[in-house]
Each structure stands twice: as structure tokens, then as C-alpha cells.
Symmetry: C2
Subunit: 889 residues, 2 copies
Amino acid sequence: MSELKWVYEFSASFTEGHRGMKDLLGGKGANLAEMSALGLPVPPGFTLTTEASLDFFNNQGKMRPEVKDQILKSLQKVEKLTGKKFGDTDNPLLFSIRSGAKVSMPGMMDTVLNLGLNDETVLGLEKQTGNSWFAWDSYRRFVQMFANVVMGLNSSLFESTLEDLKEARNVEEDSLLEVDDLKRLIEFYKQIILENKGQIFPSDPWEQLWQSIASVFQSWNNDRAFKYRELNNFSHNWGTAVNIQSMVFGNRGNDSGTGVCFTRDPSTGERKFFGEFLLNAQGEDVVAGIRVPGPINDESKNERNKSFKTLKELMPEVYGQLEVFYKKLESHYRDMQDIEFTIERGQLFILQTRSGKRTASSAVKIAVDMVQEGIISKEEAIFKVSTDQIGQLLHPRLDPNTVKDIIGRGLPASPGAASGEIVFSSEDAISFKERGRSTILIRQETSPEDISGMIASEGILTARGGMTSHAAVVARGMGKPCVAGCSNIIIDSANKKLILSGKTYKEGDFLTIEGSEGLVMAGTVPTISAEVTEDFAVFMKWADTLKKLEVRTNADNPQDVQMALKLGAEGIGLCRTEHMFFDPERILAVREMIFAENSEKRNLALKKILPFQREDFSKIFKLMESRPVNIRLLDPPLHEFLPHSENEQKDLSIHLGVALEKIRDIQKNLEEFNPMLGHRGCRLAISFPEIYKMQVRAIIEAGIESKLLGFSPNIEIMVPLVSDYKELKKIKSEILKETEDIFEEKGEKISFQIGTMIELPRAAIMAREIAEEASFFSFGTNDLTQTTYGLSRDDSGRFLPDYLGQNVFKEDPFVSLDKEGVGFLVSHAVKEGRIAKPEIHLGICGEHGGDPKSIQFCHNIGLDYVSCSPFRVPIARLAAAQSSLQEKK
Amino acid sequence: MSELKWVYEFSASFTEGHRGMKDLLGGKGANLAEMSALGLPVPPGFTLTTEASLDFFNNQGKMRPEVKDQILKSLQKVEKLTGKKFGDTDNPLLFSIRSGAKVSMPGMMDTVLNLGLNDETVLGLEKQTGNSWFAWDSYRRFVQMFANVVMGLNSSLFESTLEDLKEARNVEEDSLLEVDDLKRLIEFYKQIILENKGQIFPSDPWEQLWQSIASVFQSWNNDRAFKYRELNNFSHNWGTAVNIQSMVFGNRGNDSGTGVCFTRDPSTGERKFFGEFLLNAQGEDVVAGIRVPGPINDESKNERNKSFKTLKELMPEVYGQLEVFYKKLESHYRDMQDIEFTIERGQLFILQTRSGKRTASSAVKIAVDMVQEGIISKEEAIFKVSTDQIGQLLHPRLDPNTVKDIIGRGLPASPGAASGEIVFSSEDAISFKERGRSTILIRQETSPEDISGMIASEGILTARGGMTSHAAVVARGMGKPCVAGCSNIIIDSANKKLILSGKTYKEGDFLTIEGSEGLVMAGTVPTISAEVTEDFAVFMKWADTLKKLEVRTNADNPQDVQMALKLGAEGIGLCRTEHMFFDPERILAVREMIFAENSEKRNLALKKILPFQREDFSKIFKLMESRPVNIRLLDPPLHEFLPHSENEQKDLSIHLGVALEKIRDIQKNLEEFNPMLGHRGCRLAISFPEIYKMQVRAIIEAGIESKLLGFSPNIEIMVPLVSDYKELKKIKSEILKETEDIFEEKGEKISFQIGTMIELPRAAIMAREIAEEASFFSFGTNDLTQTTYGLSRDDSGRFLPDYLGQNVFKEDPFVSLDKEGVGFLVSHAVKEGRIAKPEIHLGICGEHGGDPKSIQFCHNIGLDYVSCSPFRVPIARLAAAQSSLQEKK
């Protein structure tokens, strides 16, 4: 009968685990084992498995005798390896006790250091180190830590006693206390424990060990840890491992020290060994930042430390070992490493290694370099850069080294940072721009009328609206920073001022916004501009060869189209036709169309719009060459195009020869209670077939023109807001009739596809019938999210923060596709659509098309393409490649 | 080898079909067979099957020789039975050729009468009848009918020739033409046929027969018939049968005649044989209404005909036969019959029998009587009254005998008719009412603020909004007529006038509205008030014993509750709590709550509302005794409660001691782009938990109070607008906490249920998870329809008519539940909910809960109850019983 194994040992000479055993040994334990097995000088120790913790929980918080037995045996081996003895009064072995679950749960669970000290062993440590202060201070710290972590007393009880004593001694730093003071403190501490817990501090090291292990086990179930797991969807049944490792000390004199090094430069990605260290110090001293650390080598020197001696100079042998180890670690872990080391009396120990944090540009450089150095494959490189990092590379960001006066927070609606004078209307943004001044446009919420103002400004700040509000969507499309839904801002547009954090800012005052985090700052904060390198191009090309999803863009003007092509778009997934309507040259004709009393007058107005639309499409077809261009026929409710200012109404009244009063009446009549659910999309075409007819004519005539110029336009015509196949069937037959007429008139034909948006729950449900009429589906997941949740993206800004704050929603469903709810409908439609028409082409054109998690979902359910705003195209390309590789795993 | 059978004969002596063979013989053919088999004197003939028509279509419009053979044989049998001969110049046999599909398609297909006449056989008819004028006029009519129906010539060609001749002869009636004129006309007609078709009128009776049959077959595929089937979802593959029946003539002298009788009085339902007849006349003469028909018996006499001799007096023997036949037919068909008969020279023929049309009240009386007479079972009786008829019984209706000046049409939003002076505001409705005047309230669309005005008026007319708009829903709840979405009305509230059909109506002008059809009429149209009889009560009790679904009501005030109980409601399925907020006594406190800057002030305002709400619930609990009361916590967005008029804003400003300017600012800030998708329902409770807390306290305290008074309140608390189980989980725990507090305070407990509305697609999708937290689901299919379709019920009035008019939608999905789309989600939620919690209680509380088709769906998918407005409760009870019986069939 083989005994159950509860303990896994690690040391340079004998290691039982490896990094694949995270489930059993936890992340930390598995890594300690891996490094030990690699032959690195890791202080020896052993890991109590996660199963031991589960067994402990199942056993009313008791440890089995067999577990204790195995611990005892492994501990004796550590004694042999270190030549020290646990609880020995001459040469005591001390341990650190650390929790370690299968995933990192930073700060969630407990740690005990210097375990094994008591009134006797401290004398041994004193003797061993020849450093009384060090020994007694270690003991003092241990008592406090044990009392806090294991016995559950508040640290402040001990801190205040320490502070009192320092005050009495009139010193500011701990290190200036005498050894006797430390001894007195320890007595005070024990007294505090007795008074507050009615228990005596356990001086028996074994008792300390058992209690500490039990306490680390129990910390798995403390409130913080529990909530953290809830929040991250981690199972409560994983349990935690416990790592029991012999202590090493970097603070035993000038032949000791501690440091951190990186296998490459984390800020540039350059291939150079880079690090800092402190002599006679412990890890926390480096963190505390009181002493300036020295460079490990010349490459690591900077302005502050260039006169310091390097580790290479001070301890060439140790440095030499470190060089060997860092190379070993990088090639073993196949990534740039962040390594913690300690030198105790000239002996080097490696305490931890992990993938090093790096800037976005260095991530790309490192990934590309490592492929070229033969360390990793292209497939591995794809996972070395995150989609967030790609996003950062495309937008200017705040200089991290500047002090910021953050006066407000909103939604991170469009990434990048910008500063400018604040203006409160599009007109002002334009006139400031004309005078060469940079502005931030401030609006309650933008509307299509604000487009020109948004173009003229450097960034947009709104008080209302969510992540897919008009401002957010358009700003992302433009690649401009936007902070939306900054709900505690009070905007007084009439008087051109705003109040935020109790202060008033007037037109012309400077503000800075940062759209990746949603920050609003007073004044001008310096920014670092975006940089797109050669490495970036190489990296993105690899992504393209590895991805399966086609990546298209949402673009409706030549500038956006050019930008998107530059960023790697393979087609247009959504060309909205309504933005084209707002051009000042056209808007009067559009309004004339809306005010037309009958089909005849409507046709007259539409004739005026036709040449403009045709021209727009011509330009786009030429730029896109033979790449697909998906054009959505008119979608928004007509009243969006109406004149809202008195002046505009007057203009229209004159233009149409209709009384101002009547203009207002008609306009009033067009208002809707819920425009999102109103007379829009294909519903307009059911009521007024002339509109789509004109648009189809513009598209097809432009297509023929391009064809005659030698291009091969690849046109997809998309009918929006379909809820039933009959709508599509009717409109499709009207489109086909119109195109037949045009082909006859022109004596020239082109091919094109007709399909539909799936953006209403009913369309998704009825996808099988709809697919019979459609060559393609494009999932409009913005609207689909709105209707599936019954949640207006323009209004959700007011209460979604409450939902996210209280963890009722884990994520804003407009940012990342809700896989369970909205995703159910999308999957259903994919399945049903393919049943009716296996060759149907399927894509997504909502804002989710640029969100990596949503892209992975799209890949998994077998869509053909995603479409996103130009500046998210590279993100989507990378996410698509990662999804594809993930699937192969 | 048995030959295929294409022809089925019917006659008193030999009949091959029966009424169960509608698929093969068509409705008419099956009925002729049934009557013949019963031994009734039906003119003999035979039916060509629907399969023969399909075979004809499949065979390039040719009839197989076998078919012709079978026709020939059957025709010869008819010759034997009648003693006449087809094409005989002495005693010719004439036929009628009529189409007859499996379902009635009135006027859609063709009929040919008097077939078999030509220049020779007409002489035989002349001889046979001794009536030259009759014979030649029959011939003339046949030529015209054949030319029109079979040869496709326009009737007007013939009519104008006839008119010309009448003018030349200076006579006004056909009957004043001479026989020679008729002969001349026939020659003219043949000439017209030759000139227009290049074909000679076929004088061979067999040729006439084959062409007529072919023509009737082909009429199955004419445009009208095709469209009619599309509209009614009938299959194009059913085909039509053709009935070839010997002609009988009621116009062969004073021993001949024709008439219609009913087995009971169709307007009162009384058990008396009732009918009218004309001597020497054909069916069309009765229809034409030129001659006043006589009564068949004394019971059938009325003011106009009381001096006439009755059929009983004139032809006692025929009348005696008729009495035998009507009794036979009624007991055979188990329903009141509408019988057509013809008397040819003293011989009675029955031409048709069908279920007689009847008024709503007579339908109930007949059903109840027939059960009591032992003719039908209760189960059968349930199908003798339609749900529409039940609806009519509950509302006043227009006097059918009055001329109506219809000036507009809108949606039939709430049934009943009402007249009154028009007013344009709730205030005016109230002040008119105070002066004892009846009003019709005219609004663009009503809002909760209009409730008191709606109560004060007789009916409501709106320009906007659909079948489930506020006006429609509230009016139905009140049992008041409402015409909604009368979109061509132009309302000028400021000047208290409206324009409709080009005419202006000012405040105080009288209008009448009719809400079952959606009519607006000028002036006052007399109405007939609703009448609920003893028979009605008996009938409804039967329905209750046969139905499976529980029928509840949507009611939120004692008046509605009392009315609903009177109409048979078994519980409250939806008690909205927001209507209670609009009471003038309370609205200020509600507004104070909305304007509260923090939770403390909000609680203060809520404390003022609490006693009112508690009082409301107390009253309802007392009325409902132990019946279930489902209370929905606050649902609409808060801004619905805001003051809109300047005066109200000023009042609030004084009440709160806040500047008017600030009131407006806050109000502005609460506005939403799409309130339907905004900050409402449980979202309010996530942001402001205090509101539901107060409501729960009001409910539970009222419940405890009722319990102490000896009642057993059966309380269900419903959380609206849930999209995720976490919302419900959080709010449920808050409700439970609050109730625990109350139980402790009061020292008394009551039981209650907590559940949720399923009114968002996501809630339906996630029903399994949500069911874990819910004791019940109530399907809010109004909102679910809105979000599934992305269709605002308040705005759809503008374009739904286009959809219905173009047959893009078959029905308004707010009227009858969309089974495919919305129904998919409901079924999914039922299935998933029951997986998680088999005992979960399921109901529907949308307006569909009162729609018979939707109720059938609810029954079929296994809901436990439906809930509808009080005045639809009897309709729902009947529909539930019918659904239940339908299932058993």
C-alpha cells in the first residue's frame, strides 16, 4: 500500500516537482521546483500540496499525522543540506512559510518569515551571524508577524508600541534603536499577545510551524481571498499549497546583498542584461526606496547611480554566476525574465524568476528579437505581446514621469491622451482650430452634428453616454482620445463653462484627457507620442499569417479608409451611409427629403443627394480596390438629421419656402419616445422605398464607374434592423429591380451581394428564414446588446457604474460581448443561418469587433470576419492570431 | 386494378361523401353530401375532387379522359334522378358549376349558373316552364356569365348593351323588357364575344361544361385567390373541388319561391323558428332587397311584414317539411343553422345550411339553451361563443342602425364606443366632468400624469402610440374606449383644437370614438349599452370548470380590483405600484424622493410615501382575501414622475426650497434618450436600494395588518426588468433582510413569494440561472416584444400601418404574441426555468394575457396563469377553456 504523498521537496540536489504541477504545488511551489531542478541555487525547502489543504478543510481543520510525518522527514533533509538545525540554539534553521495557489492571488493570503526564532534560538542566530541587532530585530519582526498572521492581532498594536519607544528614545529610524530596546519590545509584544488573546506566544518552533501552516491554509478562506476568487471566477475548491523554505539573509554585512535583474531592458526591449542591487540589505529595503540601489553592470547605469560601483566590479564571481543563470532562465522560460536574487556572505541565491513586465514597444522588440535569435517560435511570439500593448502603441500617452492633477474620471471611451483649451460647441472647436489652437470639445453627449467639431478638436469629453455612445464610437473611429460619461461634471454650455471637482473651468482653460483610463486632468500634461516601428510591422505580419479571421474596418470616408488600410484592414465591414448626410453641402437636401409631403417631392430631394453619395462611394471603391466593401443602407431615425438650432430651422424654412412654425410642427411630430426602437433602419424603407432606391443607385453607379476605370469593386449591400425575413425579401426585390434598371441604362453590369445586419434578438432567432434571403450576416452587436439587455448605450452611463461597482455585472456588456446572453443569440443565428445556407458569410461589425475577448468568441463560433474602427485593426489582427493559436493548443 | 376516383355523387338516393371529407370535396361539396345523406331534398349533383384540380394543374391544364368518363357517368345518373336530359331540346337539364375549396374563400373564385342553355335548349326550358321571359332571361344571363367567367370578358361590355336597350325601350327594370328584346340581347352578346375574343360562344352544352370546369379550376390560381391565401396562410397546394349540381328555380310562378330561415332567432337567441321568403323569386332577388320578403310564420313577423301571409299559411305542407328539416339540421349539426331553401312548383329543395351568424348575446343564450335542451355538451357550448363576442358583451357599442360620419381611423386600442365634447388636457377633462359634461380626451399620447383626466373622460383619442401604448393599456384597464395612433390627426393643444380630414374641431365640439374598430366620428352617434345576463354567468362558469389556466387580472386600485373580481378574476397577476405615485397627495413626496441628493434625504421622502402605499395594499389585500396578489416593485424611470408644467415646477421649487433653475437642471439631467431601455425597473434598486425597501415595507406591513384582521393575504413580490440572476439575487437578499426586520419589529410573520418579470430577451435566455432565485416568472410580453423586435410600442404607430398594409407583418405583435420570435424566448424560458426549478410558477402579465390566440399559446407551452385587464378577464376565461378543450381534441 503506497502512502499518499503530501510533501514535495526542492533543492539543488533533489527536487520532486516541476512547473507543470501548479494544480498540486501552486504557482510558487511549482516554480521553486523548476528552478531547483534547473540547478539554480534556490534555498532548499519543500511544498505542502494543495491537496493537503483540502484534506485539512475536510478534516475540521486538523492535519493528519502522516502529513506531519512527511513534513518532519523533509525538514530533516533541509537541515542536512543547510547544515543548520530547526530550533537549534547554536545554529538555528529558520523558515519562511508562504501560501501559493495555482494562480497568483497577490496579497490575498498570508506569509510568515523567520519562523523558528525564540528566546533561545535568537541567541544562536546572534552567534551564527555575529550581528546582535540583526538577530533581535529579526526576532522582533517575527513575533509581530506571527501575532498578526497566525494569532489574528492587529499590527497597529505593535506599531504604536514601537513608535512610542522611538519617541521615548528620540529616534526616527528603527535602525537607531539599541539591541536592548529590541529585547524590551519583544517583551512588550508578548505582553500584548497575552493581554489581547489570553495566550502565550509559542516559543516551541514546531508549535510555531504547525500553527503557521494551519493559518496559511485558513487564509485561503478569508474574506479577501474569497471575494477575489468570486471576482475572478476562480474555484473555491482549488485550495492552496504552502511553501516552507529555508531563510537566507542579504543583510549580513557587505559580503551580502539583494537585487533584481532583467534579462533584457524592460523599457526599450534591447538585448542587454540589466539590474540593480543593494549591499547588506533585504528585499524590502530595495522596495522601500530609501537607499539608491547600485547598477549590476555598466549597461545598467543611469544618471542617479553612474558613479556607484557595479556588482560586476564588487563581486565578479557572483556576477559571473548571475550571468550564467539569467541566460539559462531566459532560454528555459522562453521569455524575458525578472529575477530576484540574494547574496548571503558571498553566496548567491535565486529566490524568484518570472516574466518581466515591459513597455508596449519593448514587448514587440523582445518578441521579434527572440524569434530572430531562435529562442522562440513565431507562434510563441504572438503571445508575448498583449492586445492592450498594441493599443498603447497606436496612441499618444501621458508622460509617466509627470505629476497629474486628476480632477475627474469617466469611461475610457477612446484611448490616447490630449490637451487643449476647452470649448463647448462644434462651431467653437472649428473656429479655435482655424486660429491654430488645440481644443478639447466638451459636450453633454455628441450627436452626428458634432462630427466636424470632433474632427477639429484634439479630444472629446462628455458628461453622458457609455462605451458605445456616439462620442465613444466616433472618437475611436477617428483615433482620438475620448472620456465619456464623466457623470459628475456639470456643463453649462450656454455660458461656456463647466464645474468639476468643485472648480469652474471656462472656455479657453486648459484640460488634459486620457482615454485609456478615463482621466480628466487640469492644465496641460505632457504626452509621449505613438511610435510604430519596423519590429511592429514584422510582428503584425506574423499575426496575419497565423490568424483565421479576416479583419475588416468600420469606415465611411476616404481618410478613415486610408488609415485603416495602413493599419492592415482587409476590407470594410461597415460603411455607414448616414455620416455622409451631415456634410453642410448636403444636409439641406437631406432635410428637404425628410420634409417632403409625398413620394414625388421626396424623389426630387433624393436626386440632389444622389451625386454626393455616388462620389463618396467612388472614392472608397478606388481606395479599396478589390477588397470587400460592406455598405449599410440608411439606418438612423430621420429626425437625427433635423435642424435643432433656431438658425438652422430658419435656413430650412427659407430653403423650403415653408413657414417656420410648420417646420417646427413637423419636427415635433417626428420626435420619438425611444428612437433606438423607432422608425429607423429598414423600417424607413418599408415606409419610404425611395430612400434606399437612391442609395442603391449611388452605390451601383459608383461601382460601374470604378469598374470602367479598371477597378474590381467588391460590393456588399447591407439592410439594417431586419426583424423578419419578409422585410429583407421585399427590400431585396426592390434593390434588384433598381439595379436591373441601372444595368440596362448603363449597358454595364457589376456583381454585388445583398445581406443583412443581425442586430435584433428576433433576427437572431429567425436566422434560418432570414438566411434564405441573405448572402451574409453582419452581427450588429451594439444594438443586439442594447435590445437583449433592454439597455440603452446612451443612457447606461448613469447606472452601469453602480452595476460594475457592486459586481452585479462583471463587465460593461458594450465593451466585451456578453457570451452567455447576447452570445447565445449570435451562436444560435450562426447555427441556424448555416443550416439554411452553408456558404453564408458571417461577420461582426459592432464595437465588440475590436475587443480581444469578443474576437476570441467570434473565432470560436466560426465567424468569417470581424470589423472594427481603424485604430483597433492591429489589435484585432493580433487577437485573431492569438485566438487561432489558442484553438490549436 | 381499381380506378382512381375523381367524382363523388350526392342525391337523396345515393351519396358518396360526408362532411368529414372537406380536404377532398371542399367545404361546399362535403356539406352537400352531408345534407343529401341526411335525406334532405338537395338538388342532385356531383363533386369533382380537389385532387382532380391538382391533377389538372400538373397535366398542363388538361383533364384526363378518365375524369371526363366519371363525370359523364355521374351526370347520367342525375339525368335519371331528375327525369331531365342535359342538352335536351324538350326537357333540358341545367347545372350550376361552383368552386369549393376546403376552406371558405368568399368571392375569390368563380361560379357559372344555368349551364346547358343554347338556342335549342332554351326552347325546351320555355316549354318546360311555360315561361318564355324566364327562359330567355336565364339564357341571356348565362351567356353573360359564361363570357365573363369562362371567356374572361368584362361584364360591363354586356351591362352597357343592356342599359342601352333599356334606354331605347324607355324602361327602368329588366323585367319590363320584352322577350324579343331578350333574344336580341343574346344576339348582341354573342357578337360582342366574337368581336372581343375572336371566338364563337360555344353552343354545345358539353363544351360549355368542360370549359366551365377548366375555368373554375383555373380560378384557384387567379390573383385575388392567390393573395387571399397568402394573407390567410392557406396552402396553394390544396386545390379546389368543383360542384356540378342540377339547377332548381324558385321563379317559376306563385307555387315557387325562395327563402332563408334560422333555427333560432339570430338577434335574441330565442328558441323560435324564424325566416323570410319571397314567392316567385330567385336567391338574388332576396339579396337585392327590392321586394319585401314575407315571414315564414307568425313568430317571424315584424313591423314591415306583419300584414303579409306567412309561408305556413300559403304552403302549409312545404312549411311542415321545412319544420322537420330545420330540427333535423340543428340537431345534426348541433348548432343554430342558417338554411337556404327554394320551392320549385310546390317542391321544397334545401340548397345550403350553415351555422347562423348571431349577435353576441344570442350566441351565449343559444349555447346555454342547447346544453339545457340536451342537444350539445358543455364542452361543445364553449366553442359556440367566440371570445370576440364575449368582448362585445362587456362594452357599449355603436347602434348599428345609425348613419356614421367617419372622419378618421386609428388603432382599435380599447373596445367600446363613447361620445363627448373634446378636451385637450387632463385638467379640462376634470373640470368638464365637474360641470357634468361628458368628454373625449384628445392627446398626442398619454402619460401617467393623464390618469386622472382619463378617469374623468368617456374615451381617449391619441395621435401617437400603438396597441400597447400607455393610453391603450390604461384605457383597457379602465374598460374605456380608446382609439390610439390616429396618425393623420393634427393636434394643437395650445389652441385647443385639432384638424382631421381637413376639418377643424375645437374644444367642446362633439366627437364619437369606437375602440373595437378604431373609428373616429363627427358628432354624437347613439350607442347600445353592455348587458350581462344570467346566461352569461352560467356560460362563464362552465368555461371555468373546463379551463386549465388560472385567469388573473392586472389591477392596482380597489375599483379595478372589484371590477375584476366581478368579472371572474382568480388573482392579481400584476399590481403596478407606480400608478399609486401620481395621486396629487403623494406626487410631491415622490418628487422629493427623486430630487434627494443622498440616501438620507431619500429615506426621509420615502417615509412620507410609505403610509400611502401601505394603505393601498391593505385595501387590495382585503378585497382579494386569500387570492394571490402579485405586486411589481417600482418599474418606470424616475423622470416619469417629474413636474412638466412650469406651475408644477414652481410648486416643487417652493416645497423643496430649491431654486427653480436647479429643479430644471436636475430634471434635464434625468432625461433619457431611450427611457424604455434606461434607468428603470430593478436598475433603480441597484442604484437606490431605499426605494424597494420602502415598497417592501409597505407590502409586508399591509400584509401583517390584513392577517391580524383575519385575512390570509397571498403575496407575491415581483422584481422587474431583471437581465441577470445577480440582480435578482442581490435585491432578493435586501427584501429578505427588510422583511426579517419588520417581522421582528411587529412580532408577527407572514409568508410571501419573491419572483421576477421575464421581459428582456436576456432574462429569457438566462432563465435557468434566474429560476434558482425566483419562486415565479411572470412574462412581461409587452416589453419582451419591444426588445425582441427592437420596436417601441409608443413609436410604432407611425410605421406599423405600413407593415400591416404591405403584409410585411401579418399582425401587430403587440396585439397577438409573436409565436416564432417572442414565443421562442418564452418557450425557452419555460423549459429552462423548469429544469432549474420544476415547481416554479409561470404566468404572463403582458397585454397578450387578454388575447385569445396568445392565451392558446400560453396554454400550449404550459403556463400556469394569464393575467389581463379586468374587462378582458371573461375573454381570457373563455379562451383558456377553449384552449384546454382544443388540446384534448
